[in-house]
């Protein structure tokens, strides 16, 4: 019970910290990015909604107002969801752009990460069970190297080999241009087709971390007293491996999964940019290139909140599967 309360408390506090960080970062370095944006926007000749100018000022800084005042106004905009207008996607608002791109990222990244975790954990379990065997040696030696290959480099290679040389897959985009977005088969199948290459490039490196950590944790649980006792009981190898060793080993890994979510988002930014995939990562990339500060900041905010929420959900899940947390005991 206390566990859940602590988790919720932490979630709320970190949320607040992330929002505040988002507020502080542009103001730390001095300079006035707001000014740059506003002058660029007004230079666009279109009629600018003064509220949007207001929103930008609130997010990035009004030179005359006291900091604390700016802070509270900023919090207001966050709550109301007014994040201003995007410079690079004028006249669309930042919120609109994020809503458009969010599903793509969620589907690609979310699904892939879960697949990577499951595959990695299974492979790691297998490697640990056949400890020091052929499979295990193979996995441990290659993972050191493969785990260090940069995501984006692999992605580039994949495009080069599979899209250009072999022409099996499209070289980019979320879907074929001629399809109309919506719940029609043409669109969906095209979307799936376009996501295979990015997904594969992620799947090469993503499971590796899970393989190694599951393997190492499980090697440890295999040495625990309760596993020895399970063997003394004459239980089947499978039962010992799964119910005794793996079941205990997976717990710290789930916590690890929660923590790693932050890093995963980083990788996705790169992948999306390379594949020209219409997700939030690419949005961020464009925002950087264009010095589109409102967009950049809000994407940062959203990704952070997303990661926090996912983290929170995993933490809650952990509370369910570890009986020591679910039912705190005497010792």
């Amino acid at each position: 019970m206390v566990y859940y309360l602590r988790r919720i408390g932490f979630f709320l506090l970190t949320l607040w910290a992330a929002i505040t960080l988002n507020f502080l970062i542009p103001r730390i370095q001095g300079g006035d990015p707001a000014e740059a944006i506003v002058s660029r926007l007004t230079g666009q000749s279109q009629a600018i909604d003064p509220r949007q100018v207001e929103a930008i000022r609130l997010m990035l800084g009004t030179p005359d107002e006291p900091l604390l005042q700016q802070y509270f106004d900023y919090l207001g905009t966050v709550v109301r969801g007014e994040f201003g207008v995007s410079y690079s996607y004028f006249p669309y608002t930042v919120s609109h752009m994020i809503m458009e791109t969010l599903p793509w990222t969620l589907v690609l990244i979310g699904v892939i990460q879960v697949i990577a975790f499951v595959t990695g954990t299974l492979l790691g379990t297998w490697a640990a069970w056949r400890r020091n065997g052929a499979f295990d040696s193979l996995i441990t030696t290659t993972s050191s190297f493969f785990g260090t290959l940069p995501y984006f480099w692999i992605a580039l290679l994949m495009i080069y080999v599979f899209a250009f040389e072999l022409g099996w897959f499209p070289d980019g985009g979320g879907f074929a241009g001629e399809e109309t977005p919506g719940w029609n088969w043409g669109f969906i199948s095209s979307a799936i087709y376009h996501s295979i290459l990015p997904a594969l490039s992620l799947l090469i490196t993503a499971p590796i971390g899970w393989i190694m950590s599951q393997r190492n944790t499980m090697v440890q649980t295999l040495g625990e007293d309760y596993t020895r006792l399970a063997r003394a009981k004459g239980l089947s190898e499978r039962r010992i491996a799964l119910t005794y060793a793996a079941r205990n080993a997976i717990l710290p890994n789930i916590t690890g999964f929660a923590i790693s979510l932050g890093g995963i988002v980083g990788g996705s930014i790169l992948v999306e940019q390379i594949f020209n995939y219409p997700g939030m990562g690419r949005l961020m990339f464009e925002a950087i290139g264009n010095r589109d500060y409102p967009l950049m900041q809000t994407v940062f905010l959203f990704t952070t909140v997303g990661v926090l929420t996912a983290n929170f959900l995993v933490d809650m899940l952990y509370g369910v599967i570890d009986p020591r947390v679910r039912r705190g005991g005497t010792n």
Partner: protein
């Protein structure tokens, strides 16, 4: 070992106590470092890592002598494929890719050493204070650590770097150092907490040792292998982070680094023109350097954990 009949048991002097461990050579060693390096060399994985790392360091130091051309000299035909003159081809500005690859070693090494060092130091200070002080200080610092752990690092770094008025390697180093310390802090905090409870620390207090001596002369020496392992890991992560930042376009496009090479390669459509000489080597170099560091860390693990010493 047969029991010798007729031996008396009673209050023998302690010299007859159970024999010390098999690998006690009885030599007087005051220093542990030479011993440490020997262990790392004996471990196959870390030996490979050390050799690889040494290679990179040599290339970095002697870059001006190894590289055939000035990496910024745009004297060749732009976007040319590999040839006798330019082993890996040329960039969009007509610079020699191979020379850039050589010089890029320097950037990666410097970023790794400095940014890794910065992150390690920040993590060490915060972790040690949190672990030793306990109480509300620990609660506050731990919360701080957890926040930085949970917030996605790359977006944070990007945001920091984007707002920085100065572009350049220094900014990248600072940004990476300031965002990547949390993991190390957490590890050192828990080690500090467990070491603080050891009896020999209480004994030191009762021997009249002042607090600074306890922290620096009693506790810290027992944390060395952890700190070293953490530093090597942080350096590796920093190298990867720099590449990522450069590739996205947040680093300094004017620096020569493997990450910026890939940035320009991608930007200039190297994919389309099939310039594998520009695309593949930088990525490989990154992977090899980071792998070298990881392998060296196996050796550091072996020093701190004798169980791992037998390969």
């Amino acid at each position: 070992m047969a029991m010798q009949e007729g031996r008396t048991f009673g209050l023998e002097t302690a010299a007859e106590d159970l024999a010390p461990e098999p690998y006690d050579t009885g030599k007087r060693t005051r220093f542990k470092v030479p011993n440490g390096l020997a262990i790392m060399w004996a471990n196959r994985k870390s030996r490979t890592g050390l050799i690889l790392l040494a290679l990179f360091v040599v290339v970095g130091i002697f870059a001006p002598w190894i590289a055939p051309y000035d990496p910024r000299a745009g004297i060749f035909m732009p976007l040319a494929p590999p040839s006798g003159e330019n082993w890996l081809g040329t960039t969009q500005l007509g610079e020699d890719v191979y020379s850039q690859l050589i010089y890029g070693t320097r950037t990666s090494l410097i970023v790794g050493i400095l940014a890794g060092g910065l992150a390690t130091i920040i993590g060490l200070i915060i972790g040690m204070i949190a672990g030793y002080a306990g109480g509300w200080v620990d609660e506050v610092l731990s919360f701080f650590i957890n926040v930085f752990l949970v917030i996605p690092t790359l977006p944070l770094m990007i945001t920091f770097a984007a707002y920085s008025p100065i572009k350049g390697v220094t900014t990248v180093i600072i940004v990476i150092g300031v965002t990547g310390w949390a993991w190390g802090a957490r590890v050192k905090r828990s080690q500090m907490m467990s070491l603080r409870e050891r009896d020999y620390i209480t004994a030191a207090i009762f021997s009249g040792e002042p607090m600074w001596r306890i922290v620096f002369r009693e506790i810290l020496p027992n944390m060395t292998s952890l700190i070293v392992a953490g530093y090597i890991g942080a350096a590796g992560a920093a190298i990867g982070a720099e590449a990522g930042l450069a590739f996205i376009g947040v680093g300094d496009p004017l620096t020569i680094s493997w990450g910026t090479m890939l940035y320009w390669a991608d930007n200039s459509g190297a994919l389309l023109t099939g310039q594998w000489g520009w695309l593949i080597p930088p990525g490989l170099a990154l992977a090899l350097l980071i792998t070298a560091l990881t392998l060296v860390n196996f050796g550091v693990d072996a020093i701190s954990n004798p169980h791992l010493r037998e390969e």
